[in-house]
Symmetry: C2
Subunit: 386 residues, 2 copies
C-alpha cells in the first residue's frame, strides 16, 4: 500500500425525506444563496421541499448553472453573493451545480482575479461554507473537494481541489432521481464506473481492501445500472446507484493506491472542443486507454476480467480483450456510445484535441506519467470508430 492522507468531513444525509433535515444544518441567521441549473427542480418538487425546509430564512436564488459550468456564468453568482452579503451557499442539482458552487464559494472572498483559482496561480485562504442537495447521481462532487469549470471564451476546462470546499453536508434522496431522463442516468453510471476504473486499473500495490471496494462498486453498477433504466422508480435501485456514485469519488477507494486519470484529461478536451457530455467522452476514451496501456496494466486487467466479469478461461490476452469488450458493451447498454464516430466526430478532429492537451501541458498522463502526446494521439485514433 502507498502512504496516504485521507480526510473527508462532508456529512451525508441519505434517504427519502432527508431534504427536510437541511434546516438543522444551516445556522438560522445565515443569508443563503440557493444555486441551481435549468429549473428541473421546480418541476420535480425538489425546489418546494428545499424552500419549505428554509421557511423563514433569507434566501437568494441564482439559476442557470449549465452542464460543464462556465466561469462566465459563475462569476455572475459571485457578484450577486458579494452584493447581498451571502453567508452560506446551497447547491441544488447535479455535479455541475455542485462543482460550480464550490468555485463560487472560493471566488467570493478571493483577493485578485478568481480565474487564478482554476489556473492554480492563486492561493485559497478562505471560502464560504456550502451544502448540497443532490438530484443527479454521477460525479461524486457532493462528497469531495474537487471542481471542474469551463471558460467559454477560451475553451479551457480546468479543475481545482481544496479542503475548504468540501460540502458541509449533502442530502442524497434517491426519490429526487426518479424523474431523470435515461440519458442522465446512463451518463451518471458511466461517469462513476470510470471514476472507479481510474483508481483501480493501474498496477498492484498489495492493497486488497481498496481493490475489493472498487470491484464491489463496479459489480453494483453493472447489476443496478440497467435496472435503473428499466425501472425508473425503484427506490432501492436508485439508492444503490446514488451511494455508488458518491463512494466512487470521495477519496476512499483511491487512498493508498496509484491513480490514472488519463481518460478524464483526454475526455475533458473532447467536451471543450465538441461539447459532448462528460460521460460520453469517458465511454469513448476509457476502452482505448485500456487497449493502448494493456501491457503495463496487465496484472490489474486480468484481475478485473476475473473478479468483475468472471472471465477466467482462455489465454491472458483473450481475457483482456474480452474484459475491454465487456466494458464497452456495458456502456452501450447504459445508452452511452463508445466511439467518436457515433457522435459525428471523425479522424480529422484528432490533431486539434492533441494540440489542446499540449496547450494545457497534459503531456505526462497516467499512473506512470508515460502517456505523452503521441500516446494520447494513439488513444484518440483508436477511439474514432470500431
Amino acid at each position: 500500500m502507498l502512504n496516504f492522507s485521507f480526510y473527508n468531513p462532508t456529512k451525508i444525509l441519505f434517504g427519502k425525506g432527508q431534504i427536510a433535515a437541511i434546516s438543522k444544518e444551516i445556522p438560522k441567521d445565515q443569508r443563503i444563496l440557493l444555486t441551481y441549473g435549468g429549473g428541473s427542480i421546480k418541476q420535480n418538487g425538489v425546489y418546494d421541499q428545499v424552500m419549505a425546509a428554509l421557511a423563514g430564512r433569507t434566501v437568494f436564488e441564482f439559476a442557470g448553472i449549465e452542464p460543464n459550468p462556465t466561469y462566465e456564468t459563475l462569476m455572475k453568482a459571485v457578484e450577486l453573493a458579494r452584493r447581498e452579503k451571502v453567508d452560506f451557499l446551497l447547491a441544488v442539482g447535479g455535479g455541475s451545480v455542485v462543482d460550480g458552487t464550490k468555485f463560487i464559494a472560493a471566488a467570493i472572498p478571493f483577493v485578485g482575479d478568481p480565474w487564478d483559482i482554476l489556473a492554480n496561480r492563486g492561493r485559497i485562504e478562505t471560502a464560504l461554507p456550502l451544502g448540497s442537495v443532490l438530484t443527479l447521481p454521477a460525479t461524486g462532487s457532493e462528497m469531495n473537494s474537487g471542481s471542474v469549470v469551463t471558460r467559454r471564451a477560451t475553451n479551457d476546462k480546468l479543475a481545482f481541489m481544496h479542503p475548504l470546499v468540501y460540502p458541509r453536508f449533502s442530502v442524497l434522496d434517491p426519490t429526487t432521481t426518479f424523474t431523470l431522463p435515461p440519458r442522465q442516468i446512463g451518463n451518471g453510471v458511466v461517469d462513476a464506473y470510470t471514476h472507479i476504473m481510474e483508481q483501480y486499473l493501474t498496477y498492484p500495490v498489495n492493497a486488497p481492501i481498496q481493490d475489493r471496494f472498487a470491484e464491489g462498486l463496479l459489480l453494483t453498477l453493472i447489476e443496478e445500472g440497467p435496472k435503473a433504466l428499466a425501472m425508473p422508480d425503484d427506490y432501492d435501485v436508485r439508492a444503490n446507484i446514488m451511494w455508488c456514485t458518491t463512494m466512487a469519488l470521495n477519496g476512499l477507494i483511491g487512498a493508498g493506491v496509484p491513480g490514472d486519470w488519463a481518460t478524464h484529461m483526454i475526455g475533458h478536451e473532447i467536451t471543450a472542443l465538441h461539447g459532448l457530455d462528460h460521460a460520453q467522452t469517458l465511454a469513448i476514451v476509457l476502452p482505448s486507454v485500456m487497449q493502448v496501456k494493456r501491457d503495463k496494466k496487465r496484472a490489474k486487467l486480468l484481475q478485473y476480467a476475473a473478479r468483475v466479469w468472471n472471465l477466467t478461461d482462455g489465454d491472458e490476452d483473450g481475457r483482456i480483450d474480452a474484459a475491454i469488450a465487456k466494458t464497452r458493451e456495458f456502456f452501450e447498454r447504459m445508452g452511452v456510445h463508445t466511439y467518436l464516430g457515433d457522435y459525428g466526430i471523425k479522424a480529422d478532429a484528432v490533431p486539434a484535441l492533441v494540440a489542446q492537451l499540449e496547450r494545457h501541458e497534459l503531456t505526462k498522463l497516467g499512473e506512470y506519467g508515460d502517456i505523452d502526446l503521441p500516446t494520447s494521439r494513439k488513444v484518440l485514433e483508436l477511439s474514432v470508430a470500431a
Copy 2:
C-alpha cells in the same frame, strides 16, 4: 437500504514515517497532554518519534491508561489536564488509550459529575480536541466517535458516543505494530472481524455496496491475519490489517444497514466480571449468537457462507453449520480461544453474567431487539464448552 446519516471528519495519516506529520496538525501554541498506556511506546521508539515531532512544544504526560480503561485512572488525567490548562490531547497507543482519551476530552470541560457522560445522564456541550498515534490495530477508535470505559468500583463497562470526540487526526504507521505480541495481533483481528460481522450478519436490506465492503474486509482479515502472526515485520500485511481494523468501525459499512451488537454487549459483561480480553469475549460469544439466531439470520448466514467461505454445496443448514465452524476455526487460528471453558470459566458463571445484563437493562439486544435475557442465557450456556 435504510436511511442514514454519515459523518466522519477524522483525518487519517497512513504509512511509514507519518508520525512526523503531527507537528503540522497541532497548532504551535497549544499545551499538549500526551496520554499512553503501560510504556511499550518507550521501548519501540514511538515515544521518541512523537517527542521529536513535538520538539519545542509544551507537553505534559499521563501514563498508565490500562486495557479496558477505568474511570478511576482517567479522572486522574482529567485533574492533571485541568490543573495544567491543557489545550490538546494526543493519545499514543491502542484502542484503550484512544477510548480513554476521548473520555478525558469530554470530561475536562464537563460541568457536573463526569460519570454522567457514561451513564448517559449529562449532555456534552464541548470537548477538548484530540489526535491519536495508533500502535495497535483493533478497535477502530482512531476513526470513530465511540468510547468504552469501565468503572472498577462497580464493574460497570459503559460506552458513549459524541461527534465532538472524533480524533482530529490519527496516524496509522504499520511499522509501529511490528513489535506487538502475537496475542494482541490475534485479539485485534478478532475484534475487527466481529465489528464487521455485527454490521453484516443481520438481515438483507438490498444494500449490495455495504455487503461487498464488509465481505471484502472479512476476506482480507482471513488472508492477512495468519500472515501477520507468521511474518511480524511484513509491512504490507500489517498495513492491510491496520486499514481493515479502521474501516471495520468508522461508520461506513454500517451506514444504511441494521446492526446487531449483541455479541459486544454480552462480551462486555464477561470482561467486567472475569477480566478476559475484549476480543476473547467476542470470539466466545459470536459463534453462539450465530447458532442461536440462525433462523432469523438465515439469509445473511447463507450469503456469508458462500461469499466469504466459498461454501455453496450441500443443504442450507449444513452450509450454515460449516460457516459457523469456519468462523470458530479462524479465531482459534488467530490464537483466540472460543469457549468460556478455555479460560477456566464454568457453567455456574452464567447466572451472574445474565444478572449483569439485567442490571444494565440490556434486555432487548440484536437487530430485532429480540435477544432478551433468556436468549442471552442460551447464548452463554452454548459458549461454555464444545
